[in-house]
Every structure is written in structure tokens, then in C-alpha cells.
Assembly symmetry: C2
Homo-oligomer: 195 residues x 2
């Protein structure tokens, strides 16, 4: 047992480390306990099941993606079209960077996220809300054509799936990925502009 008291955050970090080394199939609560130098009972006091522990790991990881994302979105420009372009560019860049920096962990999280669809749905809902807010602002300012912000936001999200859906991660390192993303963003911005 280490000197510092064991908290949930430490357990989540250790689990992330074990997942990175062994992948989702082979990772056990015992491995996590071993890495922390504690008994597996100590881990279970914080997380009632392996599923709960995995879910906490994904949730923290998605929170990090979201924070990177929110930080980068701040300075994307003053008008709604600039902000939407900035938001989409940043969203793709954040995902592409995660997939590139740590491909094994990214693949692991894809699998886990598919198992815990409520966590993934919350992440999608967060992204949709970001898009919707800018779309609504742009309609209010007269930059974007009038419409239902919810419906338009969903279409923007779906039209950019190729650049943010983890299923397409293998394509993101292609030299053409950036140009393709810019082509689609321009098409979308033209699509929602007021006329």
C-alpha cells in the first residue's frame, strides 16, 4: 500500500495505464490493484464493478477531449460563420490528435465507448449542443438562413462524420484528409448562409 490515500482519480489513472498496456480484453481489476499496490477490494470500494471502472475511464477521457476542444474554440473569430468553421476545425483536430498520439488507447476507447453507449451519447449530445448554439446565434444575427437549429446542427454533425467519427480514424492520417475536411466545411457554410 502506498503512502497517499487511494482515491477514485488514482484508480482511473491506473486503469487507463493498464488498458494502454494490455487492451480492453485482458485488463482486470487485479491488474489495476497490482499497479497501485493495493488489494482488489480497495478498488471495489470505489468502483462496484469492472464495468463501472471502465465507464469512469471513458468518461474522463471524453471530458479531456471536450476540454481541449472547448479551450481551442474560444478564439475562433467574431462572427457565427467564423465560429462554426473554428468549432468544426477544432473538433476534427482534437480527435485526429488523440487518434495519432495514442492509437492503441484510441482504439480501446472506441471499443469501450461502443459498449457504454450512454457515455458516447452524452459526448455526441455535447458536440451537437455546441454546433446548435452557434447555428442559433447565426440565425439570430442574420448570417445564417432561418430554420430549426436542432435539425441544422444534426445535419452539420452528420455531414462531417468522416472527420470526427472514430470509425474513420484510419483515414485521418491521409495527406488528403485536411483538404477534404475543408471542402466539406466550406460546403456546409455555404449551405447554411443567409441568402
Amino acid at each position: 500500500m502506498r503512502g497517499e490515500p487511494l482515491d477514485a482519480e488514482m484508480i482511473v489513472s491506473a486503469t487507463e495505464e493498464v488498458l494502454r498496456r494490455h487492451g480492453p480484453e485482458k485488463t482486470t481489476v487485479l491488474d489495476v490493484a497490482r499497479l497501485l499496490g493495493v488489494s482488489h477490494g480497495s478498488v471495489y470500494r470505489h468502483f462496484p464493478s469492472k464495468a463501472a471502472l471502465r465507464e469512469a475511464v471513458i468518461r474522463r477521457w471524453l471530458d479531456r477531449v471536450r476540454d481541449d476542444f472547448a479551450a481551442a474554440v474560444q478564439d475562433s473569430g467574431p462572427t457565427p460563420p467564423d465560429r462554426l468553421r473554428g468549432l468544426l476545425t477544432t473538433m476534427f483536430a482534437a480527435k485526429w490528435a488523440k487518434a495519432k498520439e495514442d492509437p492503441e488507447l484510441f482504439a480501446t476507447f472506441r471499443v469501450l465507448a461502443a459498449e457504454h453507449s450512454s457515455v458516447s451519447s452524452a459526448h455526441v449530445a455535447f458536440l451537437l449542443a455546441q454546433i446548435r448554439a452557434i447555428v442559433a446565434d447565426g440565425m439570430a444575427s442574420g448570417d445564417f438562413a432561418r430554420g430549426e437549429p436542432e435539425v441544422i446542427a444534426r445535419a452539420v454533425f452528420d455531414a462531417t462524420s468522416r472527420f470526427h467519427d472514430p470509425m474513420h480514424a484510419a483515414e485521418w492520417s491521409s495527406p488528403e484528409a485536411q483538404a477534404k475536411a475543408e471542402g466539406v466545411i466550406s460546403l456546409i457554410l455555404d449551405g447554411i448562409r443567409a441568402r
Copy 2:
């Protein structure tokens, strides 16, 4: 040996049948020969390798997708915007139908198409050429804003990946798929309209 002389078409049909039953890993040239009641040497006289045989199967399958597609596109309307909407709707419907009617064969072809990327690239090039032709017509008629048809066609293709890329096949049976596709098509049509 059957009564009719063995031709390449018969071998391709038999291979498709064996692939449907056993999947791409377990399918052998011997299985194909057995189904046809011929020696495996007879198969090799038409196809020098298992890879060549598989490639012929995918090529024929994609040709069929393409023919269904071309037939359905004919009557989609007189103006370039109607024609583009018709083309995209038909393209999605053709893929969704294939994925639904025969999910195992569709999954198999996904794997094979990934191995034979030149065949897949030719198919993508065909789809892109169809989109590009309508985009160019629409620019000429003044319905679409001026631009580079090649670039716009690529953006249209990429923005609709969610509805035609086999990677997303599992989502196509969702009750929301049709509404999502329509949302993206409308966004695209607004994006390329002349202003």
C-alpha cells in the same frame, strides 16, 4: 463435370455462393471447384489465383450495384438540383438495400474490397463522376454557384459518407437514417445553389 462448358461467369457465381456460405477466410478454390463439380485445375484455367477470382467476384458485385444505381437515376427529375437529390437518394438506397438483403455477403465484400483497393477506387471514381457530371450541368445552367466541379463533387461525396460508406452499414437500419440522410442532402443542395 457438368454438361455445359465451364466459363468465367459460372465460376464467379459459384465463388459468390461459397463466399456467402463460408465467408472470405474459409473459402478455397477447391470449395468452388467442388460446387461446380470440376477439378480445381479447371478453375485455375480461368483465374490464375484465388486473389484474381475474388477480385472478379467483387468487380461483378460492384457492377451490379452500379447498374441498379444507373437504372434508378434515370427518372429523378429535369433540373440539376432534382437530379443531384435523386442521385444521392438512389445511391444510398442501393447500398442500404444490398446491406439489408444480404448482410453476410455485404460484410464479406467490405473485407474483400478493402484488400483490393483498386477495385474499390474504381467504384468510388464512378460515383464521383456521376456527381461531378450533375454538378457541372448545374453550374452551366446557373442553378449551382460557379466553382470547380471536381472539388465540389468530392465535398458532396465526403459529406454523405455516413450514408454510403460500408463502414456505417450498421447504422443504416436505424429508423432515423432516412431523416438524417435527407437533412444532409438538403444542406448540401443549399450549399451549392447559386445565390
